[in-house]
Symmetry: D2
Subunit: 406 residues, 4 copies
């Protein structure tokens, strides 16, 4: 008797099998120490048809039931009965009620006044705020006293991305992160995607670390910018410093990139580069006055490609354009990422994780790094969202720029 | 004849052979395409005696001569003739004359008004400012218009650290970074150093990343704090977030540390932890009000161990104590590092590099990370200054805390 | 018309959803550029019930159809119509007909004279030979002229292992190979499994490389042997050499394991160790005559734990027990692995891959290595079969032996 | 009094400072807990002049004195008094007297009948055998009863290689193994060395693993063979198997190298390739009969480049040319390496270590691998002998072959 109380019926619809969703649903129920019974299941008879399922979930107590339903919801399950979302008021700035709903990066909607309302600015680890009948992801620190906050799972629906099984344009290597792969193949596919996006006036964002400069990638990334394959550059102080050092002195952290050897006073070159730019006013001023004549930053400025240099605790200088207030830097990163079609992350775990946190699940990400552990970590962030390539980033950019050159 | 113009005689004194200094001096001359002639050499006849050398350097032109002398200076060579340091005035805030002297982390002195003046706050990549007959390392951005800046190499003398060949307390593994080593041995030596420093009321700083929490290191690092083996904690938002998440929910990034499995809504736990602390006001408030009852941050607060949480572009939240203005964060890091005897870096490349930049060459550093490339990079920063240990940081802290427990 | 010829109906039965089998089936059909239609699907209504499916596969030509059916078969699908297996005769020693069936490590049966016959000695990359109504996996080189060889897929059925979803004894970390994990948890579970296997007089095999010695693991692995937790040791010359070097001189590759420093003539110690054993006759003789008194090899011999030292191209010596003929060494490895319950691989990619190739899919494997790329590679070999742990192997063995000590 | 007994005077001569030899000499004395006194020191006044030193070493007892002298000897020090080498007779096959002299890879000579006799076939970890007034390095297992064996250090002199400071042809990156480097520079230098060696009819050996195939390196390495830049290929079964698989089916371990995706029955392709070759008789036969038409093995056979496939415990098949008896395989490796000018190791730690063990210190080695830990390990083997490059081996071979193409 009492037992029957701790039950609920949930449904799910979509490419449940292709995307492992059903497997995860069953695993989740078992992991929560609950049981399931399949009430209805209509399998998609062909690759194009969706499947549909109804499950009865049985838990041992109410808390457990609430938990398992919450977890299933993140997989795209929904309570059959549509209930209004629960809204509570933030009691102070920058904090919310204890039972707030913390977002994933998946498409989310809330059931408000009898209608499903899509959530805007989808990103993970955010709060859903309701304002003028519009729901938006807001960072915790941006909550203001009195804001209406979505709490609990009731009236929240998540629609996971489905694996695009038949479109190999992206899913070409999703399961397998290894240095023992032919990179040429992946580079060709990424080049094709970039060309397609460019043809459609889409937006390609590059996230890059100073290793791009150290490994000799400057001429290749510069060329990609010049050719119009980069619409946004998200990076930090170090990439810009070493790019400018390289432009001024031919070195990167004091190593002569032609000879491969540390050179005279090379350790000082990056400080001289910073000082020269600070004397000029800014990177932009240095380009305008003809002091800075080549490189990644130069091409960004010449080609009106917006860039953001986020500060970090290890920065020297910094350069005038570097944003040392990280609240501002995060906001500008998020703004620049709006509407992006693909993000290519080049040897910068720090900035890549930051960007990954800001993106909705449907923006594709390519992570290139020579360290397989970094690639695994980055590509793990959103399963069907990210592919990883383990290779030398300088040689990869060379390959990519050759494939994209007219 | 003309040739004889591009010559200069330099001297050096110290443990020139034991510390590879002489080798580097000769290598530098050859690498600069100059030649040397040894005029005098008095070898230290025993391990305790110093050696002394006089070299005539011949270059092909004046610029080359200036360059090679500049490079040799960094190795501890000095012009025989003592000349006054060259000072120029900064023309604007945050920038200096083009030929400014950029510091290393080695002991430096300037010859000013006929006397050698030691430079204070020694760190790398800084400017030497003279003020009231006192010379100090200043960060580029902190230069103010009108400051007196040391330029060129004239009148600057660097005294490199010597390798402490007979004191195995520190030099126990300096040349060899490999995961194929017995960690027990290194842990025992570090424990002995920490006990010695504690006995002398010295200062031990820990630099730590969130991996300390993920790998189960919280109880061990907490214990070290409680036992008085930590005088400063330099870290970021993430370590504190996951430490508090672990204290509240027993998870780290949603993984149950007892069971090793992701748990219900675990992905949300770190956001809940942040929100709880923000609701409480601050970490300190949460400890005071009994909300936060254990863990690394708790022990820091209870035992009055100062900590700094530097913000980063990838931060969630952040916690109230996190400093998102990195100019401030860097200044507070540097202040907290003043007078430190040893720095132990635990799985945080970002913060470890930041700290490495701020330290003079004579502060010993131990870098522990499971990634040998990270250890190589960190331990490279100052040759005789840093040792690296490639191991599992959670198990390492367990080992260390067992060795240091009464 | 013609189209309808290139169709076939296949079935599958089992935990199709929990184990991702159905997902893989659909993916395979699409990847082969064929289409499917679900004719029947009965979903397992609860966790214990199995599911059953019937699919119509349509291909563009006969070759494609043959291919997709062959691939589906490896996932456990079978033609609805049972047909006799095709047997052909080997025309020469050590080679087979071109269309031979190459085995996986999954449970396999053949339909012979109207009955399903289980295949013995299941392993991957083998040939199925029929002899006296008995089917066995045979290595290519062991085929003899006239042997009856299974060819094509007809009459072959594969039954994949199902993921043991509710038995967390093993599946505790299968999806996630990272150095950022608490090892304590995994060690406790492995210890529990080992105790259970020992209690049931089961068989635990250790595969180990010399890093076990370098990282100080000798006393811990020795203890596990003494306590009866090791029934077989599969390794190479190097582990034995350095174990004996360590027992004789306290060094491993010349590094003093107590002091962590290279010692006098340490580079020579492993050669001296080999020479001493060769003078004694063998490792066994050296134990018998009291020359070798401790260590891993000593405990194996004292406790009658069989070991095999497989030779490698990089070996010094070798020790008398090392088998330099690899045909023999592979055969002895395979024999020793018969009936094993669990295999624990410790820092030896070479021997671990060798062992992985020899095991059927239902023997569980634990791979411990400090390099995540190695663990990923090893744990990849059989999805639900292997778990990987990224940690310091010396500290891991310490932890494991503490948990298993009475 | 008693003290003065435990003293000895040693000398050394050469580029003692440039090559860190003197630093190591002093370190060694201190590490052995002895003391030194410099009696004479004549420094090389210019880069071309050698230095000369005489040291009095004082130990606490005779054993210690013997030890420190032995260690110093390996650094090139010699007793001032020339004494005859001590020879003892091997009492049985494959074993030697306990106090045998174990060789390093440095140039060695013995003082026999009043003359210095150079040791032939210099390699590390060998025994010096005297036969007909000729001294040769012999592997322990090849010693025969009655052979005359060099014992102790008396009458043995080692002449270490000097760092070639002014010849940047090789020393271009010796100290710095990092993935954060521009590979183009190193590739250009290696290409230049290869061209020089080829112009002089020298001998270039390639050591390669199957990763060369997986990463798409086959066309590039094939081209280098065709162009005459490879005189010897030392590898194992796996490279040949996957090279042939790639030639037959366009896959490597079942992954289609054009599409980057696993293909139909790809897992079986390497077994089919092995079987086809075994049916043909051998790789050579398959080339002769037109079955094998491209790839690394094909080019070796067509261009008469000798290759050796050493067996390993993980091998499938093996191919007919694979030598499964490792005693034979090691001997053939060593024979093929005779007279080699440079060895280029491509992604195979196992075979590279094997080759490293067989080479004298004056044969230069280049190690290319994407894993920095592997490169560090390999490049460590002989300090001034080896350079390491951390990069993607497929892209590296592409780069190298473009630089070497006419």
């Amino acid at each position: 008797m009492g037992v029957s109380v701790f039950q609920e019926i949930v449904g799910a619809k979509g490419h449940l099998i292709d995307s492992d969703i059903l497997t995860n649903v069953f695993d989740t129920v078992i992991a929560c120490q609950c049981t399931y019974e399949v009430l209805e299941f209509a399998i998609g008879k062909t690759n194009d048809e969706v499947s549909q399922i109804k499950l009865r979930i049985t838990a041992h107590n109410e808390k457990q039931l609430e938990q398992v339903i919450g977890d299933l919801m993140l997989l795209g399950c929904y309570r059959l009965e549509e209930k209004e979302v629960v809204l509570k008021t933030a009691a102070k700035d920058g904090a919310v009620p204890d039972d707030f709903y913390s977002t994933t990066n998946q498409k989310t909607a809330i059931f408000f006044k009898g209608q499903w309302l899509s959530v805007n600015n989808q990103r993970m680890d955010a709060i859903i705020c309701l304002n003028n009948n519009s729901a938006t992801c807001v960072k915790l620190r941006d909550i203001r006293k009195g804001d209406l906050i979505v709490c609990g799972h009731q009236g929240v629906r998540v629609t996971p991305e489905f694996k695009e099984r038949d479109r190999f344009g992206f899913s070409f290597m999703s399961n397998d992160i290894s240095s023992e792969r032919r990179v040429e193949t992946a580079a060709a596919k990424i080049a094709a995607m970039m060309q397609e996006i460019k043809a459609q006036n889409g937006k390609i964002a590059m996230v890059a670390g100073p290793v791009v400069v150290h490994t000799g990638g400057v001429p290749f990334l510069s060329k990609l910018i010049k050719l119009g394959f980069v619409q946004a550059l998200l990076t930090g102080n170090a990439l810009a410093v070493h790019d400018i050092e390289n432009s001024f002195y031919g070195t990167s952290l004091g190593v002569d990139l032609e000879k491969g050897l540390p050179i005279y006073e090379g350790h000082k070159n990056h400080m001289r580069a910073i000082n020269t730019i600070r004397n000029a006013g800014s990177i932009k001023d240095a380009v305008a006055s003809g002091i800075l004549k080549s490189g990644i930053m130069y091409e960004c400025i010449k080609n009106n490609v917006p860039f953001i240099l986020a500060g970090s605790i290890r920065d020297d200088g910094p350069l005038p354009e570097t944003i040392m207030d990280l609240v501002k830097a995060q906001d500008q990163y998020a703004n620049l990422l709006a509407g992006v079609n693909i993000v290519i992350c080049l040897s910068s775990m720090l900035h890549s994780i930051a960007v990954g946190n800001m993106l909705p699940a449907w923006v594709k990400t390519v992570c290139v790094d020579i360290n397989p552990a970094v690639v695994t970590k980055l590509a793990d962030r959103g399963s069907s969202q990210a592919v990883g390539i383990v290779t030398d980033v300088g040689l990869f950019l060379d390959l990519l720029s050759r494939k994209l050159s007219p």
